[in-house]
Symmetry: none
Subunit: 245 residues, 2 copies
């Protein structure tokens, strides 16, 4: 076992050291809390400089796999963090689980020149129009969310699709595009005049604002979505668990 460092390899030493460490800390003894060899000794043993070794250790420290303590040593973190277990739901599905029937109050399709941020996200130029979908949606007693979606040209949307059925199902069936990864930013903002008008609330009322960056199976940007939720009517829930081992 006991892999070692190959100085003649074209693979950088700190990368080799990093991989070596990853293997090393799989040892139950280390998982149980045993201290790693100290930096100076380990560097000597691997025949690399302390600086190079630290480069490797630092990476694992950043990933919260290792914990270092000055004057004490380095050990494997007791429980690493991962907050998967996520709620990957479209709006329709979200509402269904809440038992609320969805209604579309307004729908508007248009072709627009993308703003800078969107063009950057899609990695396209700003001189080519893309499809913009706006929807005012809610339950039986009124609208409570305004959505704006932009789609990557790669998908090949014509604007003739049926946007009344669940969006992601349609994309999957009609265009073989599967949403795979979503990065979301949730914040609170004041309602602009436009949004306040749509949601029929006072100007400046609190809005739960959700930006959503959606990627396909190849982790390529596919949709940029903005959601403006009427304050009282929407709660975003997140469940995260620490997983030891």
């Amino acid at each position: 076992m006991n892999i070692s460092i190959d100085h003649k390899s074209h693979i950088p030493l700190h990368i080799q050291a990093e991989q070596l460490l990853r293997e090393l800390i799989k040892d139950p003894a280390y998982q149980a809390g045993k201290l790693l060899p100290n930096e100076v000794d380990l560097a000597k043993k691997l025949a690399i400089s302390r600086t190079t070794l630290r480069q490797a250790i630092n990476k694992l420290v950043y990933e919260e796999l290792l914990i270092r303590k000055k004057g004490y040593g380095t050990k494997v973190a007791t429980s690493k963090i991962s907050s998967k277990s996520m709620n990957w739901l479209s709006f329709s599905q979200e509402m269904k689980t809440r038992g609320i029937p969805v209604r579309n109050y307004e729908m508007h399709l248009s072709w627009v020149y993308p703003e800078e941020t969107i063009a950057n996200f899609f990695d396209i130029k700003t001189d080519k129009k893309i499809l913009k979908l706006e929807r005012l949606r809610g339950g039986s007693d009124g609208a409570f969310v305004y959505f704006i979606s932009y789609f990557h040209p790669r998908i090949g949307l014509t604007g003739e699709e049926d946007f009344k059925q669940p969006l992601y199902e349609m994309l999957e069936q009609e265009h073989s595009v599967i949403a795979n990864l979503s990065k979301e930013e949730i914040s609170a903002i004041s309602a602009s005049k436009f949004i306040a008008g749509k949601l029929e609330i006072d100007n400046g009322s609190p809005i739960l604002f959700r930006k959503r960056f959606v990627y396909d199976q190849g982790d390529r940007a596919m949709e940029y979505n903005l959601g403006y939720y009427k304050a009282e009517s929407f709660v975003y829930t997140v469940e995260s668990r620490r997983n030891s081992s």
Copy 2:
């Protein structure tokens, strides 16, 4: 402006450099894609070594705020989704990853009879007082969040603990209670008079409100936490992936 490095300060140079960079890249010119000054020049200008500067840059690269290209330069990442999907972070940790030093503006401990909802969550009676911790926290330029925490009596908090250090670390070390599961509800609300007063904003301003139910390793309720975030100052990020793999 143009902050510089204080060699006499007790704050490590690479930390100073890191904060300086964080400020620097807020400049719209850099956000637009302009290249940062090259390492050698910048190090010279700041009167620190290239190694030290690289330490700072590396951290931002890890956070996906900066992108470096060999033979080309360093620029601000285009879609700066603040990465790190881990919503499992204590407030102190959250701030640390953002490079904002935490300050406690107010702290108040009290023993109160739990409200119905809290008693239900903890599965206790309402006639026994529990510990309530209120904290007004923020950065160097003002408070931006008001926290209210209730703790399960099982933990055995006396109120004499040091609540200035990171909460979950303290609980783990002093009371061997490890937070394991967290369910969160995020919504937007209007600031009540009380909260508006604490955060020094107008009555009715938008607030990002986070309810947090925290469970220990045995999935037993341990903390009930309410967070009122000043609107502009906090964005909640979530990253979720469909697991078809």
